[in-house]
Amino acid sequence: MSSELRYTANTQLEHLHARYTGTGHADLTKFEWVTHQHRDSLASIIGHPPLLSYLAIADGEAIGRLKFEMTERMLQPCGPPPRKDDD
């Protein structure tokens, strides 16, 4: 929260952003966007059993293992955030 919504005057919109994690806004950085994308995709894979089985078969792992690794990967799907140049 917070910094990414610094310019949002509209508190109602701010509330909605807080409520719906993953919603984008004008000041979204590339890293934030791609991280959201990956988390959404991983959550979707976990939530669709056929897709999860498909990937587990390709990888030769148990479905339970793949589900666990995917959930783990949601913590940081795209590596650490880039360093801020100024501030």
């Binding site: 929260m1 807080a18 719906y20 994690t21 993953g22 934030e32 991280t35 988390r39 959404d40 991983l42 959550a43 979707s44 976990i46 939530g47 669709h48 059993p49 056929p50 897709l51 089985s53 498909y54 587990a56 078969i57 390709a58 990888d59 030769g60 792992e61 148990a62 479905i63 339970g64 293992r65 666990f68 959930t71 783990e72 949601m74 913590l75 940081q76 590596g79 650490p80 955030p81 880039p82 360093r83 801020k84």
Partner: protein, 1213 residues
């Protein structure tokens, strides 16, 4: 194009199972979720067999399932978390045998989203509340209670959200009657998202958090949160709480936290206990590889409890907790047994363990013992410093066990499952079969199978014996009405009759009163204790004391047809007269004074069984040579009067009236059907109106090439019909639904039901001069499966154009190939390391293979004889090569000789995709196709995922490149290449000089090869990006394809564009045309789109019935087999679409998903009607049926007939 989607076999994969007393009776039942379908199974405690009670499509995706019971109740309810954004509570109503939606609470958007709850469910063990959670942030708690009328109530949701938290698992704690407590495994990502150094990510803690629902204040508080092992993945409830009557504790309460390599007992303010997960000591195993628990179940018995936890290798561990009151003394773990890797485990109170396998068949095991007093090593937390928690960050020393065959469990039943279906083909390879078989390559790893599916019921033959002559009919009969089993078998020959008695052995008897010097036309146990034989010259009524009353046919006439039941006998004479007899109250058979002249030779007769408590059945059906069937009254008011008449298209060969329950016509009472078999093999089934005797609602079905014989038999204590033609069919009622299925058995000349102690509902039949006794073990099944074991996960297979063999490639990632194993063993032996031979040679089909690091592959090419159902040859690939695709190619450069080309790659990594080298292996066929000889290997720079024969050459998709290869002496020669694809090529199809290329992420491209200029050009593509999985060409311009998200779609290229491309000899036109939307110059148009809900792995354009229309048959990864049937007329489209619309509005899915939204999950559904939804019309209440039929301007019968016709003409199912 308009298509009708029909599921022939619903998905067989089970994603979750819960156990409970759902019907409220004493027996426990299991509800299983097939992903898009809910099924209730009832185990038979005596026989140890599972049977399906009901199964319903939910038209949504089920993500979680839980059972709960209100305090003091005896009935369990099921809670379903799905992708509907709603929580649904279901009740199984045993009266109507259906799931009833008790509550449906909306909390969010539909779809399997990150922050919309539905992924996890946890219930309070006392049934007071339920928590439903999303993968991230959202957790909602609902309070469950009962109102004054003891109906279940549900509260509005209470939020227990935590921002920026990824949820790994939740569970309800057992706290007795204190405030309900839920535990969650959460990781907060807010700090790692802000820290560019990556330090926060490395130190991110996984928290075990307790949420307490304060019932008094009606809100949820975060009660306790402590870091736990960062690799924890699963929580298991530990019993707790005090028994009301005494102060004794049921258990210590708390949770088991299953982590990688460890199991931790954890509870608020209590010391922790940690034990290692025991591991196999495989000589080739990687000791640093972690093990996690993938499935767990807790079982409470009187005063004790234990856990069964399953590791990802399939090993079950029994975990026990030593406790004094609520204080844990020790956590103990020991090896229990090895079963298939499960997605859910269920323990039944009757001593069964149901293992819902992740892949392959599901197993029901019976507990033999609980592993209490064996010499299996047990690992206790007390033997480690600080109960294993002296240093929580350091792993405990490894604990080892030796896997062994089942000791504590014994297999009781297996539920067949195709999951996962990797590839399929539809072919007719069997001799004497007029319908094609479906071949599927399914399963995973060492439990993989190759199965042949045939439409029909499996038949189990128990006796087969040769007779001295060729009988033309066979009957069985009891001696008395009250007998349970049959006593005699009567065989009729051309010139005599043979009577056999059924006892310890089956032997001939003489003194039965039956006439043995003449053939027999009918046999009946009549009245209380008499027998009846109809022969061409008379009727013999054999009384209990062996006295015989005989009625003789008038001179120069004979009996040509007869029909009987317990009280009535009708015979037709050669003079086309009918004679009617009825049993009076003294047991005397009396002839009715008049005879009825029919005017045409009678070919077939039938009366129904006498209804319970009645004197007679009022209708007789007579089939005459003049191609008519007449219904004649047997009522005393108007005996032998013709009531109605139906004209036929051919002379009838048999008639059979039977009262059968068909829930789509009448749910409460059996309907009287007149089945008329014609001499041309067509069966007509009409409904006989019981009031006025009129025939209505005629349905036809082609059974085979021979004149039909119809016989009334008993199935599950209700009447059924056996129809014999060139194939034998059984028409029966199972779970209130009418089934009409062929028997997979040799064709029968005659048959009858056979009831003896060993086979209470068997059949007896004759084929030529062989007498057979058989049973039908699996009623309700539509597909019979015959399996061949495979050694690795099958990938693809193809048939050979001239011989009958199938060539299959199989391979497994993270498994060592045979040559690699040998090499490693030699190395170990040289180094003098001890090798545990016993563990090394454990059968892989039970214990799986040892896991190897990523990039390791075991792979083989297998040659299968589908007729004999066996493997005839196998070629193992060495050097860590894995096969990904194959094709049979007639290379023009070698005079059209057929070659097998297999695309392989060595040291393949999946993410990111890489390999040291790809190969195209070219084989020649030897020994009539049972052998393969490697001709040469062509090195490639990437992984080939698709190859296909093309104009005497080979087209291969090598990574992102499409290439054309010509046969060479030492290798294949690359002729032309197109490298404009953005992701790997996964499918190839061709017709003429056109090649359809399925791109992994970018849908289907249309390419053309222009020979004069040697150009391979893309001229059309799709406007939508699609993650293609399978594709097949329907015609030159049209393609049907599926994507990874469970969609199936049809794209078509404009005919004009197609012609224009073909007319351009050099392809210069295409080359210089301007691209559209950053792609090819032309775009295909989407004609149809449908979301199936299962990932479609193969699509075929085939005809499933002899002479029938071609349909698209598809197989889904989870075991779905379905067809898409093109509609033939605009009226059909309008009619069925309108029906679908009514069904949609009238019936909301039981998980609360909107049907239109479900079928249009990713792209709005287009031009496809959901047949599965339409077919639920048959299950609607009669009032609803007629109101929908009224809107359609049809009768209910017409709607049902249309639906049945669509199914039969398309699939024959």
């Amino acid at each position: 194009m308009h298509l009708y989607n029909l599921t022939l076999q619903p998905p067989t994969a089970v994603t979750q199972a819960v156990v409970g007393n759902f019907s409220g009776a004493r027996t426990q039942e299991i509800i299983i979720s097939h992903g898009t379908r809910l099924e209730l199974l009832r185990p038979d405690v005596q026989t140890g067999k599972l049977s399906t009670v009901i199964a319903t499509d939910v038209f949504g995706s089920i993500r979680s399932l839980a059972a709960f019971r209100l305090t003091g109740s005896t009935k369990d309810y099921a809670i379903v978390g799905s992708d509907s954004g709603r929580i649904v509570i279901l009740d199984y109503d045993s009266k109507t045998s259906s799931f009833v939606k008790l509550h449906q609470e909306t909390f969010g958007k539909s779809g399997a989203r990150r922050i919309v709850p539905g992924q996890y469910l946890a219930t309070d063990p006392k049934g007071r509340s339920v928590m439903i959670a999303a993968v991230e942030k959202a957790k909602l708690v609902y309070i469950l209670n009962r109102d004054a009328a003891s109906n279940l109530t549900i509260s509005s949701p209470l939020e227990a959200h935590k921002n920026n938290a990824i949820i790994h698992n939740i569970v309800g704690l057992d706290v007795g009657f204190e405030n309900p407590l839920f535990a969650a495994l959460e990781v907060d990502y807010s700090e790692s998202d802000q820290d560019p150094t990556g330090e926060a990510f490395n130190t991110a803690e996984k928290m075990l958090t307790y949420y307490e629902l304060d019932l008094g204040l009606n809100h949820v508080v975060r009660k306790w949160s402590e870091p736990t092992d960062p690799r924890a993945n699963l929580l298991v409830q530990v019993p707790g709480g005090q028994v009301a009557s005494s102060d004794r504790f049921d258990g210590p309460s708390g949770v088991l936290v299953c982590c990688e390599d460890h199991i931790i007992y954890r509870h608020m303010d209590r010391p922790q206990h940690r034990v290692p997960i025991p591991r196999r000591k495989h000589p080739l195993g990687d000791p640093t590889r972690g093990i996690i628990i993938v499935a767990a179940v807790m079982h409470k018995m009187k005063g004790a409890f234990f856990f069964l936890l399953q590791s990802e290798d399939g090993d079950l561990f029994k975990v026990t907790i030593d406790h004094e009151e609520d204080e844990v003394k020790a956590l103990k773990v020991k090896y229990f047994d090895t079963v298939p890797v499960a997605s859910s485990l269920c323990i039944l109170k009757s001593g069964f363990l149901f293992v819902v396998a992740e892949s392959g068949n599901h197993h029901l095991y019976q507990f033999q013992k609980l592993g209490d007093d064996d010499d299996e090593p047990e690992f206790s937390s007390t033997s480690y410093p600080g109960h294993g928690m002296a240093d929580p960050t350091a792993p405990l020393p490894h604990a080892h066990f030796r896997p062994r065959s089942l000791e504590n469990l014994a297999l009781a039943d297996e539920l067949e499952s195709l999951n996962p279906v990797m590839d399929s083909k539809v072919m007719n390879v069997l001799p004497n079969s007029d319908t094609p078989q479906i071949f599927v390559a399914c399963g995973r790893g060492s439990r993989s199978t190759f199965r042949m599916l045939r439409h029909g019921l499996d038949v189990e033959e128990s006796v087969s014996s040769e007779l001295p002559g060729i009988p033309n009919a066979v009957w069985t009969t009891k001696q008395r009405e009250s007998d349970e089993f049959d006593s005699y078998i009567i065989l009729s020959f051309v010139n005599g009759t043979l009577v056999l008695s059924i006892g310890e052995t089956i032997e001939e008897v003489q003194d039965t009163g039956f006439l043995s010097s003449a053939p027999t036309l009918a046999v009946q146990q009549i009245g209380a204790d008499a027998l009846l034989q109809v022969h061409p010259h008379g009727i013999r009524h054999v009384l209990a004391d062996r006295r015989v009353n005989e009625w003789r046919v008038p001179d120069r006439r004979t009996i040509v047809a007869a029909t009987t039941n317990k009280r009535q006998v009708v015979v037709a004479l050669s003079s086309a007269e009918l004679v009617y007899f009825e049993l009076d109250l003294d047991g005397q058979l009396n002839e009715y004074q008049d005879r009825k002249a029919m005017g045409s030779t009678v070919l077939a007769l039938s009366v129904a069984e006498v209804p319970e408590g009645r004197q007679r059945t009022p209708y007789l059906a007579v089939g005459c040579e003049d191609q008519t069937v007449r219904i004649i009254s047997l009522d005393p008011e108007n005996t032998l009067e013709t009531i109605s008449l139906q004209a036929l298209t051919a002379p009838p060969s048999a008639i059979c009236i039977a009262d059968m329950l068909d829930a789509s016509i009448n749910k409460a009472q059996p309907t009287t059907f007149v089945n008329i078999g014609l001499q041309n093999g067509v069966l007509l089934r009409t409904v006989l109106d019981p009031i006025n005797g009129q025939l209505t609602d005629t349905r036809t079905r082609f059974l085979g090439t021979r004149p039909i014989k119809l016989l009334r038999v008993q199935i599950e204590q209700s009447p059924a019909i056996l129809a014999l033609s060139s194939r034998s069919w059984l028409n029966y009622t199972h779970q209130n639904l009418m089934h009409f299925t062929p028997l997979i058995f040799e064709s029968l000349d005659y048959a009858w039901s056979f009831s003896a102690e060993l086979s209470p509902e068997g059949f007896i039949g004759i084929t030529g001069s062989v007498l057979r006794i058989f049973q039908i073990p699996k009623l309700g099944m539509k597909l019979k499966q015959d399996a061949i074991p495979l050694s690795c996960t099958p990938r693809k297979f193809i048939s050979h154009p001239t011989n009958r063999f199938l060539y299959l490639i199989e391979g497994d990632h993270r498994v060592l190939g045979e040559d690699a194993i040998d090499r490693q063993l030699v190395q170990m032996r040289q180094a003098g390391k001890p090798i545990d031979e016993e563990v090394l040679h454990l059968p892989p089909e039970v214990f799986g293979r040892v896991k190897a690091p990523a990039g390791t592959w075991a792979s083989a090419i297998r040659i299968i004889d589908p007729v004999e159902a066996k493997t005839v040859g196998i070629v193992h690939l060495d050097n860590n090569e894995a096969a990904f695709c194959l094709a049979v190619v007639p290379f023009a450069a070698r005079g059209g000789e057929l070659h097998l080309v297999v695309g392989t790659a060595s040291d393949t990594y999946l993410a990111p995709r890489s390999c040291t080298s790809g190969f195209l292996r070219t084989y020649t066929f030897t020994q009539d196709g049972t052998g393969l000889e490697l001709l040469h290997k062509t090195e490639l720079d990437d992984v080939p995922l698709a190859v296909i024969a093309f104009q005497g050459r080979l087209v291969a998709g090598v990574g992102k490149a499409l290439r054309l290869y010509e046969m060479g002496k030492k290798k294949l020669l690359r002729k032309v290449e197109n490298k404009t694809f953005s992701s790997p090529i996964v499918t190839l199809n061709t017709q003429g000089s056109r090649i359809l290329v399925g791109d992994m992420q970018d849908s289907i491209f249309y390419a053309v090869y222009k020979a004069p200029e040697n150009r391979l050009l893309i001229f059309a593509d799709d406007m939508q990006p699609r993650w293609t999985v399978a594709a097949t060409m329907i015609d030159y311009c049209t393609v049907a394809a599926s994507d990874r998200f469970g969609n199936i779609f049809v794209n078509r290229l404009d005919q004009k564009v197609s012609d224009q491309v073909d007319d351009d000899p050099t392809g210069a036109g295409i080359l210089h045309e301007k691209g559209q939307l950053m792609g090819a110059p032309h775009k295909t148009k989407m004609l149809c789109h449908f979301h199936v809900g299962d990932l479609i792995t193969s699509i075929h354009k085939v005809s499933l019935v002899a002479g029938g229309r071609e349909v698209l048959l598809y197989t889904g990864l989870h075991g779905t087999i379905g067809v898409l049937v093109p509609f033939v007329s605009k009226e059909d489209v309008d009619f069925i679409s309108t029906l679908e619309q009514h069904m949609r509005t009238g019936q909301i899915s039981i998980v609360g998903r909107d049907h239109l939204a479900w079928r249009g999950y990713y792209t709005p559904v287009k031009a496809v009607v959901d047949g599965d939804l339409c077919e639920t019309y048959a299950r609607l209440p009669a009032s609803k049926q007629s109101s929908i039929a009224g809107e359609l301007d049809r009768t209910v019968g017409e709607v049902l007939k249309k639906l049945e016709q669509l199914r039969i003409t398309a699939s024959g199912f």
